[in-house]
């Protein structure tokens, strides 16, 4: 021990930025998600419905675009009968803008819903957050915990939503168009092209929604956090 005035305590041998193992963090997140199924179900539904909507729209349009590109007379006739084919560029653009507008609205609703749910979760768990801080966790760890949880939920919700959306989109195509014009290619194309986009979009939305609640959790002082009674 040094006798000179010091800011750092004796015995502090360097490694002050301890890296909490990812596996342990992930395990903790999973346990949390599992233990609060009810609460996370809300988030899952929220992101799931949004992603399903996005995926259904994308599936439908991927199939349409692919069919539209074919020169087959019969396919064109089917598309026209379904009112799904038009050579009019202007009205196509207008439709696209409408879609983007509706999807954006859905995204905003989704973000609001998830943020609200996560804020409630932060309040519920503030005692836990305070305890973690008392045990020597850095704010960065709390951030990581909450973001990773939202990432997990976002992935699960988006994957489920994408599956439902895909089925809806295919069903729409099968009902509106003639099942005979659909080939395996039309079934695989949306899965390959649209599904990754939908899942990524849903996950990103969830993590964005979690940003503010996470910030609230990280910035709580331990005393404040433990004083909150739920």
């Amino acid at each position: 021990m040094t006798e000179t005035p010091r800011r750092i305590f004796a015995g502090d041998t360097g490694t002050r930025t301890v890296v909490f193992p990812w596996r342990r963090t992930l395990g903790m997140c999973w346990a949390n998600v599992h233990n609060r199924r009810g609460r996370f179900l809300l988030t899952l539904v929220c992101v799931g419905v949004t992603v399903a909507f996005l995926m259904a729209t994308m599936t439908w349009h991927t199939i349409l675009a692919d069919l539209g590109a074919s020169g087959d007379v019969h396919v064109r006739a089917v598309l026209e009968r379904a009112g799904a084919f038009t050579g009019d560029e202007a009205s196509l653009t207008k439709q696209r803008h409408q879609r983007i507008w509706i999807l954006s609205l859905a995204a905003v609703l989704c973000v609001t819903g998830i943020t609200n749910t996560m804020l409630m979760s932060v309040t519920e768990r503030s005692g836990e957050i305070g305890t973690l801080k008392c045990l020597g966790s850095l704010n960065a760890f709390v951030v990581r915990l909450f973001l990773l949880e939202s990432l997990l939920v976002g992935l699960i919700g988006s994957a489920a939503g994408a599956l439902v959306g895909y089925l809806l989109g295919v069903a729409q195509a099968a009902v509106t168009l003639e099942p005979a014009v659909l080939s395996g290619r039309h079934l695989l194309l949306p899965l390959a092209v649209s599904a990754p986009i939908a899942v990524a979009a849903g996950t990103v939305l969830t993590v964005i929604s979690a940003a503010y609640p996470t910030w609230v959790a990280a910035r709580m002082s331990p005393v404040e956090a433990m004083r909150v009674e739920v």
């Binding site: 800011r7 750092i8 015995g11 002050r16 909490f20 045990l135 966790s137 760890f141």
Partner: protein, 245 residues
């Protein structure tokens, strides 16, 4: 057996702001605690003892005055140093146990070790040994919800000792426990003090705590009204409610 000063507060004041009103919680508390001492901060609720407790634990910042832990002014510490202090220097015990509900006893105890950078195997062994020491060697895989209050508080004590802290801060450790369980928790704390030489500071209004304490600091209205050593206490124990000085 007076060791070096491990905790010292110097004219610590705390004023809470409630909207426009200022509520004084502490009005200049100077106190020093020596290494290896068992000190109880006694006082009714609202007396400021929890506030003082939070100041000593580095959980809250004083409005005025300084708190020194091991001669380091903790107001000067950055976030890393503060986290380090909470992780290794101080072990906290709470009235409501505050175990992480999704983790079993062993995981709860090893959590601070992971924060301190201990390897998984080492942490496991040490955690199991600590749990065995507090009498829960057969409860390693129980979740907090599957344990009684007394058992949970034992886990909390094992967790507080995880990184061999110099100080154990216990806020109403017996507050949620029945008489007998509370008694056993106090016994456990005093034997930890004896075995490990750890300094124990409790904020409490549990009179059972008196007998275990080396010193009792009475807080009234945010100031120290008197400090009693154990020797003096034996005389006064029957007339605790009396206000004689």
């Amino acid at each position: 057996m007076i060791g070096r000063e491990i905790v010292r507060t110097q004219d610590v004041t705390k004023i809470y702001r409630m909207g426009r009103e200022e509520v004084p919680a502490l009005g200049g508390v100077s106190l020093s605690v020596h290494a290896g001492e068992y000190v109880s901060i006694m006082g009714p609720s609202g007396s400021g003892k929890s506030t003082l407790f939070n100041m000593i634990g580095g959980l809250d910042k004083p409005t005025g005055g300084e708190v020194y832990i091991d001669e380091v002014d903790i107001a000067q510490l950055g976030i890393y140093e503060l986290a380090w202090l909470r992780c290794r220097k101080i072990g906290y015990i709470f009235q409501t146990f505050n175990l992480i509900p999704v983790m079993n006893a062993l995981e709860n105890v090893t959590l601070p070790m992971v924060f301190a950078g201990l390897g998984a195997d080492e942490a496991r062994d040490k955690g199991a040994a600590l749990l065995a020491r507090v009498g829960l060697g057969d409860r390693l895989n129980h979740k907090p919800g599957e344990m009684s209050g007394g058992q949970q508080q034992r886990v909390a004590i094992a967790r507080a000792l995880a990184n061999d802290p110099a100080i154990i801060l216990a806020d109403e450790p017996t507050g949620n426990l029945d008489l007998r369980t509370g008694r056993s928790i106090i016994d456990l704390l005093s034997s930890m003090k004896a075995e490990r030489g750890v300094t124990v500071i409790t904020a409490t209004h549990d009179m059972k705590m008196l007998a275990a304490s080396d010193r009792v600091v009475w807080i009234t209205d945010g100031t120290i009204s008197r400090i009693q050593r154990r020797e003096e206490m034996d005389i006064n124990v029957g007339t605790i409610d009396g206000k004689e000085e």
